[in-house]
Amino acid sequence: MDFIRFFNARWQTILQLTLEHLVIVLVAMVISILLGVTVGILICRSRVLARIVLSLAGIMMTLPSLALFSLLIPLLGIGKAPAIVGLVAYTQLPLIRNVHTGITGISPAIIEAAQGMGLTEWKILFRIKLPLAFPAVMAGIRTATVMGIGIGAIAAYIGAGGLGVFIFQGISRTNDKMVLIGAIMISLISILTDRFLGRIQRRFDR
């Protein structure tokens, strides 16, 4: 009962922080997907390059997110900008890796047939490679987005706002209701987004 009363009293703040959280993650993910897919496509041209880029993206992801955000403060200060940069860097690996495996996993015969028939490199990319790699790319986007929503909470630490604010404040004030609401909202967004993206993925699978 206590919990519901708390929610009713603060719903406007909760809504505002949720929207803020969504905007940060959305902006970060749009940039991240554009960058990750482009890099993923480009590294298919060279096995050495692919290894280097994938290890770099891997290092980014293994870095503790708190440390990553802190490292960005001297460069970009605090606020939404470093948060978005951090999220982009953090979510690159699943995107790049899935685009890369999706494209390199296509049977060479299909590509050879397309070349032999006279399709240009661009047409092969957009009409053959990307459609065929789509399930893998979409799986990468799902993973990256869910990760981004979760890590987005940490961004509150460098003043980006979002639902993380509730969690951090809850911790410092030992107010477990705030922590709980922040966590539940983030989980809810994650689950709904994942389901939504999953539905898109399945629609295009057919």
Binding site: I110, I111, G118, L132
Partner: protein
Amino acid sequence: MIRFDCVSKRYPLEATAAVDDLSLHVRPGEICMLVGPSGCGKTTTMKMINKLITPSAGTITIEGRDSQALDTIALRLNIGYIIQEIGLFPHMTVAENIATVPVELGWKPARIAARIDELLDLVDLDPAIYRQKKPRELSGGQKQRVGVARALAADPRIMLMDEPFGALDPITRAKMQDEFLKIQEKLRKTIVFVTHDIEEAMKMGDRIAVLKAGRMVQLGTPMEILAHPADPFVSELIGGRQALKMLNLIFCDRLMRQVAVADRALGAEAALRLAAEPGAARMVLSSGGVRERFYVDGQSLELAGGDLAAAARPITTTMRPRASAQDALSEMFRTGDRFLFVEDDSRQIQGVIELEDLFRQVKGCEHAGQA
């Protein structure tokens, strides 16, 4: 049509050339087979035609123009390309796969739709059933049919085929070969066909180029190659029993002699006189100008004492004109007769083949191949 002049392909870090100083002229309307063991350079040779591989030396002329000067994409759009793995696009329907090149060439949708149906009919797939299917719903043979249809889509004058039937089971494979030959009889494409299977080369090829370690060791018709293999390598590739294999390349229409006709109305007398003439040992009986399915020969006439009706024997074994001499020989062994009759598609007896004809033909081919 396609001319190789001193073409070589060398890869860096490799001691021997993949293709070494190859000169070859593929004539319009012929199937030119490139045959040899793996690594002999046959696929490399083929891929240099549509510029998937760039030659290190020499020139390739396609329809009179140096291929290096031609626009690569335009060139490829005008060459049908079929590979063993087929490479159908799995996310597209059969119709979309076939439409690939016509779409690139900017055909109108109505024309493309009509062409898809026409091609599916040609490769013996019912358009109503197969148009909307995805490649994963097709059997291996059906996939390759779609592959053939896709390659023929924009009616290219040149087709490149890299072991197109290599992955199929033997029965489907033989069927596809036969059907493809039938299609080719109508379309008369200029075809470069790569295979490692000499039997396939013999069956499909108008001419065969035998390649070994990047060099062309022999070029000739199947008969020439069977009759006179250029070196031990070619002999080994053919694998013996040349004369029997020749029988596969001779067809009944070439082998048969026109059969003599004995009219019942003219009686045994006339028939006996006819039988005495050279090449008329066996005669088909006819009445009122219609050929019957009975025959007489000198022996049967004699035994019957000049009674034409009593001498008549039924014709039981016949071959079609497109059957091979090997089929004919097999039939003779089966029946124990030293002759058989050839009937055309309307079941009219046209000719007769004697066992001696087979011997003579094979001997003759060996001589003809000498040139």
